[in-house]
């Protein structure tokens, strides 16, 4: 198995408050890796380190190493904008641009000069919407605003928008926690399909979700990585006491 993303003793401080205490983790290509753990344990923080979204917050100090395909994403001369093109992100709250459905998908690829306006771009938009399982629902109203869609549709639009720039890795921070069970299932199915093309890392509070879709699961607690292995192992036979307590609902 190929290691896609690798972090080595990753530490992070918000001001002088430490949020990550040295996390070392290998994430495998074309797998779904789930992060679980109680609220405030640093899952989102860790996730946001992987595409340098934390750079946007003032007063953050990051130490340690994060590599994509062996290349340091925090290396000298590495532009964080270029990193984010390779490592996309989907957020908890669907956040489509207040533009047409078409423009939501087409905007970034056009800005990255990946396609030309016109047929080429139309094809990419269709392909991305198909991959996100949204095409059939929106093909007749591509010019309507993305914000008129339902929450689940909006989230799939955000996924379509992300895969349109053809990243290697997609980070998802609780992508279904704002959605109803049916939309959640649609997105879960979508994720298992997407892992053929992308490496997916997902933060979730829903343990069943992790068990259903993740190949690997990491358990975080108080800024530490407690346990990381195949999902089955974590849920059936956890090695650490804390992990067991958490997944059996003894704390959280």
């Amino acid at each position: 198995m190929n290691i896609k993303v690798k972090t080595d003793k990753l530490k992070l401080w918000y001001g002088d408050k430490q949020a990550l205490n040295g996390v070392s983790l290998d994430i495998y290509e074309n797998k779904i890796t789930a992060f679980i753990g109680p609220s405030g344990c640093g899952k989102s923080t860790y996730l946001r380190c992987l595409n340098r979204m934390n750079d946007l917050i003032g007063g953050v100090t990051i130490k340690g190493k994060v590599t994509l395909d062996g290349h340091d994403i925090y290396g000298v001369g590495v532009d964080e904008v270029a990193v984010r093109k390779k490592i996309g992100m989907v957020f908890q709250q669907p956040n489509p641009f207040p533009k047409s459905i078409y423009d939501n998908v087409a905007y970034a690829p056009l800005m990255h000069d990946m396609v030309k306006k016109g047929k080429e771009c139309d094809a990419l938009v269709e392909r991305s919407l198909r991959d996100a399982g949204l095409w059939e629902e929106v093909k007749d109203k591509l010019n309507e605003s993305g914000t008129t869609l339902s929450g689940g549709q909006q989230q799939r639009l955000c996924i379509a928008r992300t895969i349109a720039v053809e990243p290697d890795v997609i980070l998802m921070d609780e992508p279904t926690s704002a959605l109803d069970p049916i939309s959640t299932q649609v997105i879960e199915n979508l994720m298992t399909k997407l892992k053929e093309k992308f490496t997916i890392i997902v933060v979730t509070h829903n343990m069943q979700q992790a068990a259903r879709i993740a190949d690997y699961t990491a358990f975080f607690h108080l800024g530490n990585l407690i346990e990381y292995s195949e999902t089955e192992k974590i849920f059936v036979n956890p090695q650490e006491e804390k992990t067991e307590q958490y997944i059996t609902g003894k704390f959280g």
Binding site: Q93, N95, F97, K99, M111, R161, V165
Partner: protein
């Protein structure tokens, strides 16, 4: 009565709430009454200025009177009722109507302001026999009130019936063009920089506090600043729309910065996050996703700043825009006046006829300001997106 729900203090608490409600309502009534009083006072005083009296008198035109136009009407009989300004303008009128030459006919002429005020039932300085004469002419249908196009076509004049508001309307428009051309781009750019690009550190915090303070500085100080910098240092011509516009731009700048910043702040951060996560640059995100959403708020702020600047007099007095301007200016370097300055000038004139012009000027200015605010509200309603 069912005592099950009884709360001992309730009646008292309710009475208190009621009392407060009535006090608040009275405040509202009082402020509306003030406004209504002011407005009706202006309308009562000013509506007269929208019409002007004309009288039909014999006008003799020959070689001599064409040269000395004040002799064209019989001094003794009609001299008091015909406007000096009309007689002065006769030379020009003759250029357009050469067929008037060598005639002695009754013609409609602009009435003197005393006659005009008499016809409008206001205080005037006509003598009893003059009044008799006018009344006779009225019976003969030789006195007429027409729409006052002089008011909307001409500039100021020392002859009240010949003075108009147009020079100051044009002056205001030209001044505002300069103000907006300077203040809007500068203010919006500053706001974008502070809100989207600047790091949040001590330095930017100090700048922001000072911008907020700037918005509260008495406007006359901006006038002094304009006088010192633009006129004395850069040598921009006094009284010109250019210097007035630049001075008002100084004043509008903080208002526009503050409102643009608020508009940018109201754009949800999730939009920016979405852009960053797609590998977009900051400028792409701001230009194509944040600005369109902030635009209505920025526009509203700019219009309100414009309306504020339009009603401003004090800083313009400092840069000499309170001049006597009979001609409509055609360049940004000509001496000009603006609406509030013209109103101020008229309000200090001794002739009675200027009172109604003062009020009419206020009505025009108010009308423009109210329309601007209405446009601002309309824009905000129309373009406010929900998501």
């Amino acid at each position: 009565m069912d005592n099950y729900f009884h709360i001992p203090q309730l009646a008292k608490r309710k009475a208190k709430a009621k009392r407060f409600k009535y006090i608040a309502m009275m405040a509202l009534v009082a402020s509306v009454a003030f406004l209504a009083f002011f407005l009706s006072d202006m309308i009562i005083k000013g509506h007269g200025a929208f019409t002007q009296t004309y009288v039909k008198v014999p006008v003799l035109i020959n070689e001599k009177t064409a040269k000395f136009t004040h002799l064209a009407v019989d001094r003794k009989e009609y001299g008091f009722m015909v406007s000096r300004a009309w007689l002065r303008g006769l030379k020009n009128t003759l250029k357009d109507t050469p067929e008037w030459m060598n005639t002695n006919k009754e013609r409609w002429t602009l009435a003197n302001s005393n006659v005009d005020q008499f016809i409008k039932g206001k205080y005037n300085r006509l003598k009893p026999e003059q009044i008799k004469k006018i009344e006779q002419m009225q019976k003969d249908g030789k006195v007429e009130r027409r729409f006052n196009n002089i008011f909307f076509e001409k500039g100021d004049s020392k002859i009240p019936e010949f003075s108009g508001f147009m020079a100051s309307i044009v002056g205001t428009i030209m001044t505002m063009i300069i103000t907006m051309l300077i203040a809007v781009p500068l203010g919006v750019m500053t706001a974008i920089y502070l809100e989207e690009f600047a790091k949040d550190n001590k330095f930017t915090q100090i700048i922001e506090v000072n911008i907020n303070n700037l918005a509260a500085i008495p406007s006359i100080l901006f006038g002094l600043l304009g006088l010192a910098i633009f006129i004395n240092f850069f040598g921009v011509p006094r009284s010109s729309p250019l210097v007035g516009g630049m001075t008002l731009a100084l004043m509008s700048l903080p208002v526009i910065i503050v409102s643009s910043k608020a508009a940018l702040k109201s754009v949800p951060d999730s939009i920016r996050q979405a852009g960053f996560a797609l590998g977009l640059t900051k400028w792409q995100i701001v230009r194509d996703h944040v600005l369109p959403l902030a635009m209505p708020g920025m526009l509203t702020g700019a219009i309100i700043a414009l309306a504020q600047a339009m009603g401003e007099t004090a800083p313009l007095i400092m840069v000499g825009m309170i001049a006597f301007i009979p001609d409509i200016s055609t360049s940004f370097l000509d001496a000009t006046t603006v609406m509030p300055a013209q109103i101020f000038t008229w309000s200090g004139m001794p002739e009675r006829a200027y009172i109604e012009r003062t009020a009419a000027g206020i009505l025009v200015l108010l009308g423009i300001l109210i329309s601007l605010n209405a446009i601002a509200i309309y824009l905000r309603k129309k373009y406010t997106k929900t998501w």
